[in-house]
Amino acid sequence: MASITYKNASCIYEGSDKLAVNSLNLDIQDGEFVVLVGPSGSGKSTALRMLAGLEEIDEGDIEIGGKNMKGVASKDRDIAMVFQNYALYPNKTVAENMGFALKLRGVSEAERRKKVEEAAKLLDLTEFLDRKPAKLSGGQRQRVAMGRAIVREPQVFCMDEPLSNLDAKLRVQTRTEIAALQRRLGTTTVYVTHDQVEAMTMGDRVAVLRFGELQQFASPADLYDKPANAFVAGFIGSPAMNLMTGPLASNGVKVGEDSTLELTREHLSLLHEAGLKEVTIGIRPEHLELSDNGGINVVIDLVEDLGSETYLYTHASPGVQLVARSFSRQPARLADAVALRQKAEGVVHLFHPETGARLN
């Protein structure tokens, strides 16, 4: 159990002049489940590997439990890692795989067996203890990888996209199991994924990374309701938030050819004070509804009926696309010209048109 601190930590890509991780600052509490999320190339895996000691800390520091980890070898950091491809030892049985770290530490065989059996029961692996990894399915191997990490009772768990090789159904099931397990064990966990759904459902707090830089580090709810910039706004949530940039008009923002999205007076004066002539607006699909008395004029491109809800994919003009959510079954048909308006309880996010930073 330990807290983790990244202090301006950076790491260079091998053989390149670009920083994979650029001055990362994270303050992770003891027992927290933190998810690092971002598109590929965002540096999230590298940041995790820096923590585990598999990548050099080129600049800055990383502390675990207050102790600086610079120069400390992986094997001395008391960290357990679950790899994306599991990295199970092919020539050892499941039991030997799980007990390897304990064996290295000189734990007695009886003690080892006890701990391995406990972990196996927790993960439903008891009948596989004498098998070798080659004879296991993907899901079973994944659990062995988790078991190997649990048995060690380390101060930190690192998980590098452990679910990406599982099929969709298994992924959902295992996701809940991992979250429950972590809550039960209370070990500080850093979890890397590119799937924002995993991030939102599993993490106590989520760090969004892009091109090696931290975009926002907050709870899932905060990320969803108050994204710090346009990138986070567009990354979190599915379908993505509608983002459009348009010039300011007297009562709002011009959208598409001939429509205006009205803004409140507070928003308008905020924008005037900032001296902006344009602004990037963000509205989530669930905050738009079909209007019968004006709004943004759009043409329906696609109607996706998911059974529980319907998504309307529309465009206001070429290049300005809007997605709206509806709960009726057949709200409109293809190529219909309709109008969308902001729901009464809807929220508008304002971002700087160039930097993307949040304005309101």
Binding site: L54, K75, F83, A87, Y89, N91, F100, A101
Partner: protein
């Protein structure tokens, strides 16, 4: 109709994983392949066959196919001193292969899993030594070996065979080491294993089939080697290939005993080659091709 299809799909799911049937079908090209194989194999077959004949049956025209087999030729060969030659070959081949592994495995390891900055250069150097025509160094080697007093001494061959096989061995084993996923080493190091421990418990077990294949290929090349052996040995240290020289003109038309000697010389290595078949390509192409 829908019920029928659901039944069928249900049956498919229940029957477990679908296995591809190995079609042992009769194909005309298969026949051609068999003919080619028998043709290529024929001289070897004939050699072994002749070794069981009496001299009278051996050199005849038309060739004798049916005869009463005898072990007389093998008897004669053993009495004519094949024993020492065999021992010399076994000694030179075995010892040089062991030394090759002792030197080569660490070298291959250094060149693959913990690459140094000059890795390419080192590999280049190893390969270039293999491409050096040995005829260009036989003279000074002869002079050096004779000055050191190792002429007609099996140890000279041990050293030279080690040098001959080391490049191929390093290349082959390096290609096997490269197949080990890097993550395994990382996992072991996180589990608390020192480098030495990781190598012993994780890497070596994975690489051991490759090391075995490398050893077999070194055995093949060392056993068959003739040039160094014929120039640097005389009577005491002669290996099997050198022993066969005695059968050229001297024995005239004593083909049966000659075949027996040739079979004895060739058999060990043929067996090694048959066992290492799958990895042979790697050895021959300097580990470039799997």
């Amino acid at each position: 109709m829908t019920t029928a299809t659901t039944e069928k799909t249900a049956a498919k799911i229940d029957s477990g994983p679908v296995r591809k049937k190995k079609t042992k079908k009769f194909s005309p090209w298969g026949v051609v392949a068999w003919i080619a194989a028998l043709g290529f194999f024929f001289p070897v077959f004939w050699m072994v066959l002749t070794s069981f004949k009496q001299e009278g049956d051996a050199a005849t025209s038309p060739p004798t196919l049916f005869f009463t087999p005898t072990l007389d030729q093998y008897d004669a060969v053993f009495n004519q001193g094949i024993g020492p030659a065999m021992l010399n070959s076994v000694f030179a081949t075995g010892l040089s292969t062991i030394i090759v592994l002792l030197l080569g495995v660490p070298a291959a390891f250094a060149l693959s899993l913990r690459p140094v900055r000059r890795t390419q250069d080192a590999l280049f150097f190893f390969m270039s030594t293999k491409m050096l025509p040995i005829v260009a160094v036989i003279l000074p080697l002869y002079v050096i070996v004779s000055n050191v007093g190792l002429l007609d001494n099996i140890w000279a061959l041990v050293i030279l065979y080690t040098a001959m096989n080391l490049p191929i061995a390093v290349w082959m084993m390096r290609s096997f080491f490269l197949e080990v996923p890097g993550e395994l080493l990382e996992a072991a190091s996180l589990d608390g294993a020192s480098l030495w421990r990781s190598v012993r418990e994780v890497i070596l077990p994975l690489v051991s089939p490759g090391i075995a294949a490398t050893a077999l290929i070194c055995v093949i090349f060392a056993w068959n080697e003739f040039f160094f052996a014929v120039n640097l040995t005389a009577v005491n240290a002669q290996t099997m290939p050198v022993y066969l020289v005695g059968f050229i003109a001297g024995e005239g038309q004593y083909w049966a005993v000659l075949s027996a000697a040739a079979t004895m010389a060739a058999l060990p290595v043929m067996l090694c080659g048959w066992f290492a078949q799958n990895k042979l390509v790697r050895g021959l192409s300097f580990g470039a091709i799997k």
